[in-house]
Symmetry: C2
Subunit: 321 residues, 2 copies
Amino acid sequence: MAVYTEVTDEELSAFLSAYELGQVLACKGIAEGVENSNYFLQTSAGSFILTLYEKRVREADLPFFLALMDHLSARGLTCPQPVHNRDGNALGRLAGRPAVIVTFLNGVSVKRPSARHCRAVGGALAELHEAGRDFSLKRANALSIDSWPALFAAAAGQADTVATGLAERTRRELSHLAGAWPTSLPTGVIHADLFTDNVFFLGDRLSGLIDFYFACTDALAYDLAICLNAWCFEPDGSFNLTKGQAMITGYEKVRRLEPKEAEALPTLCRGSALRFMLTRLVDWLNVPPGALVKPKDPLEYDRKLAFHRHVRSAAEYGLVR
Amino acid sequence: MAVYTEVTDEELSAFLSAYELGQVLACKGIAEGVENSNYFLQTSAGSFILTLYEKRVREADLPFFLALMDHLSARGLTCPQPVHNRDGNALGRLAGRPAVIVTFLNGVSVKRPSARHCRAVGGALAELHEAGRDFSLKRANALSIDSWPALFAAAAGQADTVATGLAERTRRELSHLAGAWPTSLPTGVIHADLFTDNVFFLGDRLSGLIDFYFACTDALAYDLAICLNAWCFEPDGSFNLTKGQAMITGYEKVRRLEPKEAEALPTLCRGSALRFMLTRLVDWLNVPPGALVKPKDPLEYDRKLAFHRHVRSAAEYGLVR
C-alpha cells in the first residue's frame, strides 16, 4: 500500500491536456495496490483512478490488460474502464512511467467475507470467464506451474529460516504437482488474483472487480481454485465448507464445471496455494530496505497447502453433484 | 505520506451508523498527511475525509482544532468542516483511534507556487487571522521559542553529522533569538503550518486551506513569517522578492501589518526557519526502522536561516511602505 511515484500539479496538467476530462478538482495518492502508484482523480467529468505502472508490471503486457478491461466492460462486467485520450490512446506517460486513467468504481472491499459474498464472487468470476470467451488477445501465465521451480530455487536455501521443513515440504509438493497437473482443461481469460482487495461490494451486492494486472490465459478452473484459497479459509486456518459451497454454487449458476475440471479441483487448489506461497516466500526473503509495503505471510499458504493435501474430491470444497 | 491504521469495512460501518451520511460508496486510504491516517470517504451524502489521529496529535487538543474549523467555516473561510454525528459530536473513535469526518475540499496543491499563488495565500492567511479574532478557545504554541532549546538539546550531539558547524550555528541562533524575540505583537489564532501541501487551488484561485493540527494562539505576524519561508524561496535556495512582495501585499489587502510587526518580521522569519530546522533535524536523526515517511531535509531551513541573518528590514521580504 503505497504511492511510489509523486506527480506534481504541473505534470498532471500537462498529462491531462491530452484528455477530454475537463478541470482537475482533486488528485490524491491512494494507499491501494502493492505494484503500482494509484491516484484518486476527480475532474469536472467525474471520478477516476490514475495509475502509474511501476517496475513490477511489464510495459509490454499493458496493451493486453487495457484491451481486456475494455472488452469486459463492453460485455457488461463492472470493472475499471480505461479512458482514451483525444488520439484514442488509453496508455500514456506521466512522471517517467507508463500511465493510465480508468473509471472509478464505487464499492468497499470486505475483510471477512460471508458466504453471501463468496457466492457473489463465484458468480462474478464465472461471468468474467464467459465475457472473456471471445477476447482475442492471449497472455501466458507468467506464474504458471512452469515458473514454480525457478521461484523455489530463489528461496530454497533460506526457506527453513521461515519455517522448519518448509524447503523439503515444498520440494515434495513441486514434484507431486509436476506429475499430477492437468493439461487439457478448458482455458480462457482468468483474473488470477481475485483476492478480497480486488472485489468491491455495496452492502451484500458485488459492485465491481479491479486489478487485472495478473490476468492471463489459463485454465478457468484454476481461477476458481485461487478464489477458494483466497475467500473460503477462516483466520484460524480452517476451510469453511459453507463458503466453498456458496462460491462454487455461485460459479455454476453461470458456468457449470466440466467433469474433468471438478476432478482436477483438488490439484488446482494445491497448485494455486503453492503459487502464492512461493511468491510470498520470495518477497518475504527479499524485503528491500525502506520498503513501503509489509510482505504477506507465506506460511498462511503453507497451511492451506497442508489442508489441500488431504482433500480427495471437489465435494470437500462444496461441489454438489 | 502513509496510512498508519487500517480500517475494516465492519469497523467503518459500525462507526458510520452514528452519522446521517447514508450508504458508503467508497473508502480509500490516501497518502496525505504525515501525522495521521486519512481516508477518502464517499457516501450517498457526498465526499468526506475520515481522519484517524495517530500518536503525534494530542487527544486533548482535538476539541480546539475541531471547534476552530467549525468557527472558521461559519465565517466563510473554506476549510474542512467537521461533520457532527446524531449526538452532536464531531469527535468519535474508530479502530482504537480518535477519529473525525470532515467535508472534502476540491483543489490541488501546487509544487512550485507562482507569485499569484503567493498573493492568494497571503490573502487567505489574513482572512484566517481576521476570522479567528472572535474565536474564544486558546491553545499555546507547543513549538514556540520556549520549546526550541529542548528540541536542540535532543539533536545537538548529532547535529554535526548532518552538516559541519550546524550545532554551533544553531546555538548562536538560539542565543540571538532569546534576546531579540518580540513579545508584544498582536496575537490570535494562527495556522502555524501553512505549507504548499496545505493550500488547495483550482487553477490560480485558492480553493481552501487544510490541516489545522498545528493551529494555536500566537503572534499573527509569525504565521506570515512561516509562509514567507514555505512559499517564497526557490529550489536553489534564493529568496524570490517578487513572491514575497505578492504574499505581503495579499496579506495587507485584508489586514495591514502594524509598525512593530513589520519591524519584527526579520526576527520572526529567523525564528520560524529555526523552528522548522529543529523539528526536521530531530525527525532526521530519529527515523524509526520501517518508517513509511521520508524525513524532510533540515538543511533546507538551515540555508533559509543563513539568508534571514543578513536581512535588515521587512522591505527585503517585499513590504512596501
